[in-house]
Symmetry: C2
Subunit: 375 residues, 2 copies
């Protein structure tokens, strides 16, 4: 099957080197990352594989200059291990000194999914933000907001929203169509807000001056970045420093393919009961093993497509040498697919049990945060 | 020439009765207007000729219940006698107790005309708002704002803007296209803000509850109203009271046709030097007279197409019996086109000289107002 990677569809076996070429990205491996990046598996293992203008962020980190890390979350469904990849990066950058802008794309959700704003807000807080905090997000160093409620004071609010409306001048219908497929007014309004989400930290009313902003995206979301970067260049109302971005690989869905919140059997949620997680892994996780035990022992398995191994690689086994050990044993046939799954179950149970404890604390923090801030 | 009336084009001899039928409006003459409406020539002379749901406004006036009068202004070019028709209605409703929402469509102007926001704001204040105040607008009973700066406090700002973005869910691309012709993202963003301009007074953050809102429009702008009314019905985020509107006839351009700010020889500006106004009238004003003096004396002129007579009718002669006298004399051939023009010159000179004195006072009021309010 030919690979296809667009904001609408990801299918086939993805050749990330080809994606770098097709999208005009730069390979992450061509950069000399500071030692601190070794701490984060996503960087250490090449899972964040490409970027645009990331040098600017590295310079800000090196010179201890301010920079912003911006991302948005879609408040629908469950937060799963695919979403966790973004959260891990957010928290990583926050620890490096980034001011975090964390946006709930509730208008986008309203325009394209549910018209129940209350439910969308509940999901954003109880599901997503709570998980972010449990994973380590420091709310005090974070500008968290809803697209529909960019409150703050009036001057700040209006500069965010009017930027969105005025960016519209600088894009054509055909450009929108190329990125968003069949364009409806709802999608268009959401896309303009999304561009404003990425660009508004640089306005005088927010960080006070143009500064580097990094947006971590899944490889399929690159067209949104391209549009926002084009708008940054074309809009002369403000002098924007060009957006930086990184692209990460797709978290494997349980059955292979991309992890998708619209398919319950494709993901494990961060709020999943460990027993249910174990059941899903055993039942659904696509295996890279051979048809028979005999054949597996002789020819070995394929860790590149084995979902259990990949989930370990994407973060659930943080020890590199242990991971390499698993890989070799699987490749040689010494380790069976069922054993790999059992290893994953052990690791994910450990993670989820610990995470659920942290969620209990996080819930209170989120409640307190929402009380203390006007939304 | 077949008449054509769309937001994009007005041409031909307009049959207002046909317009009422085509647009599904109701004739103003079918309403029993309270005596106070006799004070305003636009109502008295049937120049406000049609409406939608205007009964609701009459009821509010009668019962002394709160209602809103909303209009927007496009901050480009000069404010002329065509624009004055709207201003006269705004001021009339304000005196009747309406809360006035007066919006500067600067984002619409930015997206479709000039990208010089500063200049747009200067024109809005020095040209339009100053004229409004000179004509009698009471700034203290008026919510004046720019689309790009709906400041106030954060909660108010965001409810206005997020309404605009979320209304997008409830309209299709084809509906936009039918109303706005070839739709660009810039036009779409502006159209959504325009709908929010009309609907947001009813939000909890503004007037606090659903209430009647009247929007006076030129007959060609009715499609915008239809869209806003459709959105009011479809959007379940808020319970809107359906918008009311009135439609007024087109101010005659000097050379006949519609008065247009993009054709200097078609209009007289409110800031025009009286001598220049006289020159324009003498040189350009389309006459309803006959080819020769002899023929005119014998057959009489046509006041229905005589621009000088029409400008008097649209407000520059406020005395009905005097106007009727002019009409009869012109119709009979007793009065010549040149004499009609001279009469208009006299009246317009009187008006402009008085208006310019008022403008001087108004300028100071506008300056003070802008200092005292945050924009």
């Amino acid at each position: 099957m030919a690979a296809k990677v667009t904001p609408w569809e990801v299918k086939g076996k993805i050749n990330y080197n080809k994606l770098i070429k097709d999208f005009g990205l730069k390979s992450m491996s061509s950069l000399k990352l500071p030692a601190v990046f070794e701490k984060e598996v996503l960087f250490r293992r090449g899972l964040v594989f490409a970027h645009r203008d990331f040098e600017r962020i590295l310079k800000a980190i090196k010179e201890k200059k301010p920079f912003v890390m911006m991302t948005g979350l879609m408040p629908s469904g469950k937060m799963h291990f695919g979403h966790k990849m973004v959260a891990d990066q957010v928290i990583f950058y926050q620890k490096l000194g980034a001011k975090v802008y964390l946006n709930v794309a509730d208008i986008e959700a309203y325009n394209s999914r549910s018209d129940n704003l209350k439910e969308l807000h509940k999901v954003a807080l109880e599901e997503y933000l709570t998980n972010y905090v449990a994973l380590g997000l420091d709310l005090s160093k974070c500008d968290f907001y809803f697209q529909s409620k960019r409150s703050l004071d009036g001057a700040k609010s209006n500069s965010y929203y009017s930027l969105a409306s005025m960016l519209a001048r600088h894009v054509t219908y055909n450009e929108f169509k190329a990125i968003y497929g069949d364009v409806s007014p709802g999608k268009m309004a959401a896309a303009l807000l999304q561009a404003a989400d990425m660009l508004h930290p640089q306005l005088p009313e927010f960080e006070g001056k143009p500064l580097p902003v990094v947006v971590p995206v899944g490889a399929d979301q690159d067209p949104h970045l391209r549009l926002a970067r084009d708008l940054a260049k074309r809009c002369k109302l403000h002098k924007f420093i060009q957006l930086s971005s990184t692209n990460h690989k797709f978290a494997f869905g349980l059955k292979g393919g991309k992890m998708s919140s619209s398919d319950l059997t494709s993901y494990i949620a961060l709020s999943e009961d460990p027993k249910e997680a174990a059941r899903k892994i055993k039942k659904y996780a696509f295996s890279g093993g051979r048809a028979t035990l005999e054949e597996h022992r002789k020819k070995g398995g394929n860790p590149d497509v084995d979902v259990a191994f990949q989930m370990l690689k994407f973060g659930l086994e943080s020890d590199d040498s242990k991971l390499e050990d698993l890989r070799k044993k699987y490749l040689s046939g010494e380790m069976l697919s069922g054993e790999m799954k059992m290893y994953l179950v052990e690791k994910i149970t450990e993670f989820l049990e610990s995470h659920h404890k942290k969620r209990k604390v996080a819930k209170k923090q989120v409640k307190k945060f929402m009380k203390e801030n006007v939304f």
